[in-house]
Symmetry: C2
Amino acid sequence: MPIVGKVNNITIDKCTKMGVVFKDVVAACEVVNCNGVEVQCQGSAPTISVDNTSGCQLYLSKDSLGASITTAKSSEINVLVPTGPDGDWGEHSLPQQYIHAFKDGQFETTPVSHSGA
Amino acid sequence: MPIVGKVNNITIDKCTKMGVVFKDVVAACEVVNCNGVEVQCQGSAPTISVDNTSGCQLYLSKDSLGASITTAKSSEINVLVPTGPDGDWGEHSLPQQYIHAFKDGQFETTPVSHSGA
């Protein structure tokens, strides 16, 4: 599903196996309660949040590389970033597991990285 | 539900509003697909993992303070640790949201902490 032009906000809720392509989003793009979705940002987006979602391929553009991606209760989130001028993509899987250890009176959280990314 | 003696492994799967008290676990205690459970470890446990669970109160003992707690796809996980000799508990909520930012060719993950813990 292509979204044309500049929009303020995009929310993709309860979708399975869906693809969304958009150019610019002013505020945030949210993916919630989804399953196996593909989202491509061709312009800029300050914030992308993924909540309660299993499986999301997130394609960023050069202008949205600085996006802050927030995840909660999600797994299998991959972010694809453009590498080089020839249209290649670099794939990075976001951590989905975290270790919390009690140290000096509080918990320290470390993401568990399964890939070499 | 009390579990007496030393056991190798405990798995609490698909439980809602349930309480489990155990003393020692040799390998790991796992909480998966649960909703609002209370788990108390009175002895030692090397690993406690919480997966796909919303709402878990985890009571540790002095001997299990060193446990490594792993979470994935979970929210509202609170860990209660004994403070002082008078049986008081200190409550720590584990982060459930994470921010991923692209830096120097890879993603850096930071837990979002809502509490002052």
